[in-house]
Amino acid sequence: MTKNLRVKSSEYIDETNRISFKFNGKTYHGFKGDTLASALLANDVHLVGRSFKYHRPRGIMTSGSEEPNAIVQVNPGTNRTEPNVRATEVEIYEGLEASSQNCWPSVEFDIGGINNFLSPFFPAGFYYKTFMWPASFWEKYEFFIRHSAGLGKSPTSSDPDIYDHRNIHCDVLVVGAGISGVLAAKNAAKNNFKTLLVEEKNELGGSTIYENNEFNKIDNKASSEWLKKEIEELKGIKNLEIKTRTSVAAYHQYNYLLARENLTDHLEAKDKTNKIRQRLLKIRAKKVILATGALERPLIFNNNDRPGVMLSSAVKKYSEFYGVACGSKNVFFTNNDSAYESALSLYNKGINVEAVIDIREQSESKIVKKVKEAGIKIYWSHTIVDTTGYKRLNSVSIMKLSNDGTSVTGSKISILCDCLGVAGGWTPAVHLYTQSGSKLKFDEEKKVFLPNKNTSEQISVGSCGGDFKIDEIIKNLNQKLKDTLNIKETDLDNIKVEIDQENSKRNIWLLPSDKPLGKTKPFVDYQNDATAKDIKLALREGFRSIEHVKRYTTTGMGTDQGKLGNMHALGIIADTAGVKMGELGTTTFRPPYTPLTFGTIVGRNVGKFFDIFRRTPMNDWHVENKAEFENVGQWKRAWYYPINGENIHQAVQRESKAARESAGILDASTLGKIDIQGSDASEFLNRVYTNAWSKLAIGKCRYGLMLNEDGMVYDDGVTTRLGENHYIMTTTTGGAANVLGKLEDYLQTEWPELDVYLTSVTDHYATASLCGPNSKKILKKIIPDLDLSDENFPHMSFKEANIGSIQCRIMRISFTGEHSYEINVQASYGKDLWKKCMEAGQEFNITPYGTETMHLLRAEKGFIIVGQDTDGTMTPIDLQMDWIVSKKKYDFIGKRSLYRSDTMREDRKQLVGLLTDDPNIVLEEGAQIVSELNQSPVEMLGHVTSSYFSPNLKKSIALAVVRGGKDMMGKKLFVPMENKNINVTVANPVFYDEKNERLNA
């Protein structure tokens, strides 16, 4: 049986539009305009979840994004499910389903609730203290901890929705559309500033829009009526864009803000399809006006977390805005006048208010008098010492507060109630302000942190700037707008505000109980179940820094980031440690202000749009011929070409043999190509490569090794001299962009005097590499008039030629050790070139091979691959490539570092070949190498960098880096694996054709 607590129609609720939804499997009804929270409250459902640690029953506390307790799983079991959603922010729609989290088997009966009774055993730091010993048990602990931790459940299938990103540039961004934000945006836009107003809720007007308080009047109207007229006027203003359901998540430097615009979450499933669900707005604003408002604080007293305990302002909003009574016996508990506004609001709607409990000694304001006149009992100088009711509040016990506020006296009075509105004062929402890098200052009088030093062009207006009364808000807003926007007059100049409100407040961060603190549960952080005694324990255990206390107690570390309780935590620490709150500072507020979905963050960059793919001009041919591909940087490279159901091993063995026995062809288009021109080009190459370049004849090629300034190998490749002042450099596929960047860096910053011009031409040329003993015959068929004799076209030389009318550059260079040609044509002819080679090579069984075969063939020859056999710690000497390091050159990048004591050590890791004693065992790349098997701990000598079964040598070969390996030729070492130790012998890394006879074969 559920009660209907809908009290009076509200203009924001469309009672003609009845909506049914399910919560924990049960069907309820609400109306268009309801949030899940307001609809549940209207059905008298307060119990919506269980707390994180103690599994205590929890209810709806707030009416906004600060909600710590009422976090639910939306649409459970579907691919649109979302965990940890605040019920206060979910707009209901037909068919909505939601369920409680962190409870099993149900929120009504939760096994984990036993933790509540075991809570004396779960103090702050419980996990840190308990699961330390013995270390080896961690894996067992982890299993259980992981199962009991966590709130909601992530979806298990992929997200069906579309997300988007959008850049917005504006003159003025106004965050928050309460009264201050609306007025700020209106005046900015009217003064020709391109203005964007964003509001996290679906309605403009903030809390003023339902403010029917007779004591606040603007231009002789109720403030809500006045504001409605202002909002109506916004519609006609040019230059003003308004985005509702848009929450600013982050405020970065230089007025760069990220906001999430929610477009379809409030729609029925059938209306969601093919629409963008959420859009990430990347906003760069010249000026930012923060009008983020203030959050009401609760009060910290024993058992202050029961379902039915709510913020006083929330109770008021549910009644005024949603037309819902949160209880039938309401009590308020306060330290200021706000609760009286709520009490009066309920009274005027005919909702029963039992009492107001005020920790102050007195207040003479008109609103208090009005409450008295209404016959509502007020208990001055009283505090709540305990509450009862497990799944729903049913009473509060109160006692008289001592003068100093640290203890209670007299007899206990019990008041029956089912809803308690708590008002502990207002905290300016300065989260975004501090994210921008701006600094706060503690205001001793108002007991709040307020904006102090701005780092960018921004202002904080309204209650987030410390103005809580309408007259102050409008006066200060007016001045701030004039200063920031540099305007002389505004709409606000002639507004008449009448207000009768008192700011008196008695601030006690932790209210006493008749029981000792150790026997009470005064929750500070509801979501993470951190109590005042946890904070005090942390201080007793020696934690002093606010950041440490936060982490130790987990205060403020929930999905709500402690929006309600952070100030109390600070206050309790300050009081306990005897320091001033201003000196303590605050914990860091980090983005996002409210959680973002992953979808919003990645936007369109999913699936094939996750990253850019680069494809060579021959790509279609590879696809048609069923190549398997591998990713090399952003490139999709043909990896191997399986035929007749071959696996990778079989294909690579076949391709490798064919390339050596007859002819192979490789798509080498991905190699980086940099065109280098200028009168100092030779000198430039001398400085960037380890070997000498001045004497390289035009038409000749040379292999070069490039180091970092620290002497470590950075990149390698063949560079060809095309003319007196013209070279073309090739780089590794993955290194192309970085090499160009590095060369540009040196040219622009260290050697600006050199006349050298660099142009990346990687994408301009397609490259087919023909190799094998028949490569010459194939090339001859393609270009009959080119003299391919060793005299005219020797190894390491270059020719320009034409295939038909197509110009091509041919380098006779080899990465396989075979007689080879690299044919470069304009990219658009790449596929034709490839087909032509295949056609001409058919009679020689020309075999296309992929990167895997290329790796194998070069490993047979002991050629390194930068990035596979090197890892940024290898010098050319370590690679046994001393021959390429010029002794004569005065300087080159990295030269000096080759003579540092560390790089000259004999026991550095050096590149060697490894042969397994059993030629059929292929080592695993990355496997460790040791010389002793019975040592513990055993010294790791190095690791395997490349390893293959060579079909040409019919045995397993490997390259490895081994400490002092250069002097270990023939030495027996071991590669210990999980199940066996493999015996290996150190060998020359050149396994095949050591004399390079095949280059000219």
Partner: protein, 91 residues
Amino acid sequence: MFLINCPYCGERDQQEFKAGGEAHIERPKQPTELSDDEWAEYLFMRKNIKGVQFERWNHAHGCRKWFNMVRDTSNDEIKAIYKMGEKPPAQ
């Protein structure tokens, strides 16, 4: 996310740029004549200041030019931007 005023292109978003470490560390003209310590000073030692720091930046996804920036690392305020080879502004 900074807004960086490239001396060649004007104000652009930080994601177009690449940071390049401390500025005004000139590569020694005669490295071979330096001791190990002196070379190490050039190679490894960087100030990493909390406060005003001189930095190199590159407009990598723009004009690809390198330039210098004076930035307060404690609050990310960009105090000055000037071209390579130009004298740093007086502090």
